[in-house]
Symmetry: C2
């Protein structure tokens, strides 16, 4: 405080400066003063999230499960259910619940008011990073979904996908309303979460089994891609319903039409845009000449998706599908990868962290209903996808069980539903926890079930062979 009193002449910066320097109490509630502490909190949270994602992912891989499952479970561990390192005000946590905030308070000698403000800002920043993560995840999935390959698999995959969306959605929604007397919107949201199929997990297991190019494998992967497209349309419609809170038939029709038109329209218009995109990227000479135009397109489409009251991820997915058709695809894929590597785990871990699994603790009697609902969702999730195998027609001798089982894992797409459902406020804690448990179990069960289904068919084939030879 050497100079504060001595300067009273009209040097323009004294006023604004005095505000920050005069009193330490004033300074801690000041926005500009808090900014570096918010950053400290974000950095520490990211370190925890990255550690959790890597440890969880690697352990998961060691026991031959998909890494995303480990990231999710690690998120549950560091989050509201256990360690309270990564917690969010939306799920009812206050600054005092957060271990990271306690550390910051200790380091910086903060007032309770300052801690609350910093906790709020830090949580919002991490949430935005997680949302950018899911946008980039869907952009990447779009980039990897080859529309031309899809046309070859044709009708079979489309029918399997449609059955795999219709059956679990109807059974889940109707069951929740009629058996459990759930309100319409949460029931529709939970039903929608049952429709997803994870391309990533299924295709990884199929390739391990050497079945990726088999008839069954082709149908499963094709159906999973179509399922993604249908699922994102369903999600956009359902999330929009949750925002208005009304289920109006006209509105539902409008939403389905607008989501479909948005997606198909951007793919069709994209064919023309493609050429200009490549031309622009080729002309640019400064750093980021490919990735920045791609992100401008992806973020603008995501903005449009949000602006027309659908979902940002729908736009990002459409942008991915469009740019997938360009010559720059491979180069773009490579550059998006590290960006996805650092942003996508933030999404998976925070989805896990936001879930409070204690609401499903079976020891507490009040949780019984939530547990029953979780069990119901899991049963519908499995049966609703297994039946899709019997929707295949004109393919004698196909392994119907393998096709159905291949559609079971919800994986990252199911998590997108859970994440957006909780962000939009449509899902309460028990239902959100039930969906997460459903995603974990279906993803967990799919690899062994798929191995079993294909093994059985091989044994049958071998028996048939033996019969023929004998």
């Amino acid at each position: 405080m050497i100079f504060i009193e001595s300067i009273t002449n009209s040097v323009p910066w004294v006023n604004s400066l005095a505000l920050t320097l005069n009193s330490p109490l004033l300074a801690t509630t000041n926005e500009a003063e808090n900014a570096p502490i918010v950053l400290t909190g974000v950095l520490l949270t990211l370190v925890v999230i990255y550690l959790a994602s890597k440890i969880g992912g690697e352990l998961s891989r060691l026991v031959d499960l998909p890494p995303v499952l480990g990231e999710l479970v690690a998120g549950v561990l560091v989050g509201a259910s256990a360690l309270h390192l990564v917690v969010f005000p939306e799920s009812g946590a206050v600054a005092g619940d957060s271990v990271i905030m306690t550390i910051l308070q200790f380091i910086n000698n903060l007032t309770p008011d300052a801690v609350t403000a910093i906790f709020q800002s830090q949580s919002e920043a991490v949430s935005v990073l997680a949302e950018l993560g899911v946008i980039i995840l869907l952009f990447e999935i779009g980039l990897e979904s080859d529309l031309k390959e899809l046309q070859k698999v044709g009708y079979q995959a489309t029918i399997v996908a449609c059955v795999g969306v219709a059956v679990p959605f109807t059974a889940g929604t109707v069951g929740l309303i009629s058996i459990f007397h759930a309100p319409v919107i949460p029931a529709i949201f939970a039903g929608a979460a049952l429709t997803a199929t994870s391309i990533g997990i299924t295709s990884k297991v199929l390739s391990e089994l050497g079945q990726l190019k088999s008839r069954e494998g082709q149908i499963i992967v094709g159906a999973a891609v179509i399922d993604d497209i249908l699922g994102i349309i369903v999600l956009a419609v359902v999330a929009s319903l949750a925002k208005t809170g009304e289920v109006d038939v006209l509105n539902v029709i409008y939403l389905i039409v607008s989501a479909t038109v948005f997606l198909i329209g951007s793919i069709l218009l994209g064919k023309y845009f493609n050429q200009s995109f490549v031309a622009i990227a080729n002309k640019l000479q400064t750093r980021g000449n490919l990735i920045i135009p791609a992100f401008i397109f992806a973020f603008f489409m995501a903005f449009l998706g949000n602006a027309i009251h659908l979902e940002a991820i729908l736009g990002a997915f459409a942008a991915g599908l469009v740019l997938d058709e360009t010559d720059k695809r491979k180069e773009l894929d490579e550059q998006v990868k590290p960006i996805a590597d650092i942003l996508v785990p933030i999404f998976f871990v925070t989805v896990g962290a936001k879930v409070d699994l204690s609401v499903l603790n079976p020891v507490v009697p009040g949780n019984r209903e939530g547990l029953i609902i979780a069990t119901f969702l899991i049963v519908v999730a499995i049966i609703g996808k297994i039946v899709t195998g019997w929707a295949v027609f004109g393919q004698p001798g196909i392994n119907r069980l393998a096709v159905g089982v291949g559609m079971i894992p919800r994986g990252e797409v199911g998590l997108v539903f859970a994440g957006i459902g909780s962000a939009s406020g449509a899902l309460d804690k028990p239902l959100q926890a039930a969906i997460i448990i459903m995603v974990i179990l279906t993803t967990f069960l799919a690899p062994p079930l798929l191995r079993f289904a294909f093994k059985q068919s091989e044994e049958i084939k071998e028996l048939e062979k033996a019969d023929l030879l004998g």
Copy 2:
């Protein structure tokens, strides 16, 4: 509102749901409801920032100037000085000043309260992204600074760097205090901003002139690297002074010692850590096996830097220096590049956007003092670096002017000072604008001046040759 009234039995989700669905007015002030709109705002802001950075960068390149200059000027154009697309509450803007907020308000029919809350959250999220951008920028600069190469250039570079830090810092700070009666902390901050030298810009121009491996080029690049290290220490010390608001000699000594110990300590400890880092990265098998451990390290170091009341970027820079010494350096460089490509422009553009150049509008008489200060800073910035050429000793025939001129451009490092100065509240608007103008002009002048300086020396050499031959 079909079902709200009809359900009164104790289904657990009804209460929380009613909150979001009951009243549209309540819904717009609700955090969970605002979240997608905050995201919409962030996405639109990022689209504007990326467009500005690419257009500015490319135009700059077309007229043979460093792209970072174009990004900065584009930031000024989209920011508080002109278009009001990207504005921030810290610089005194309210939601109504932001064109993006006006668009969001139009799309979503928001109440004034909701707009204010969304503006606040959106600006904080973009600021955190910009801060992550500068952290990654310094991490990348650290990765590119080869400590072994540096040892070869040795004493010459060190002396040039020290003179290039001491002269502008002393002349700037003392001048601001004695001539302009500026308070001590802002004067020190502005003096510190004069010390930076941009490695990137200088080495690019040198390589274009074919002088990167010349004696002059080696000294300039070496001095620029050391200058970075000194500059970051100075910045950490000055920013910490700005936080407490007191200039206490003991505290200054403590800060200089702790910043130096932190940097040198982490480099020394890093030699042991290096091996473990490579071993860990080699063992990991899931996606992001290299980049996630690197980011855990960089963000943890940045957190430490902040936690010990220095700067996050000091930690990130140290992390980059450490990981630069590993075998993974090249692979890591490649993966960090696209991440830097999408995050660093957010920093440069927002630094420009936060500046209000109207405070230096020469038509307004009240701005005269600010303009005089800006002119003073520019003169000190240029002369203070040119004199460094005459600090070179034992190198007969060296082009002293070229060495001095090579140290002039402040570039990205000067912007880091301006950005952190404005975030910490140490710089008021006129001083911040004056620093930005100084950075722009020095960066703008360096390439032509450097060409001139080398051309002159070649002409002299040729004359000498002609004399010898003749």
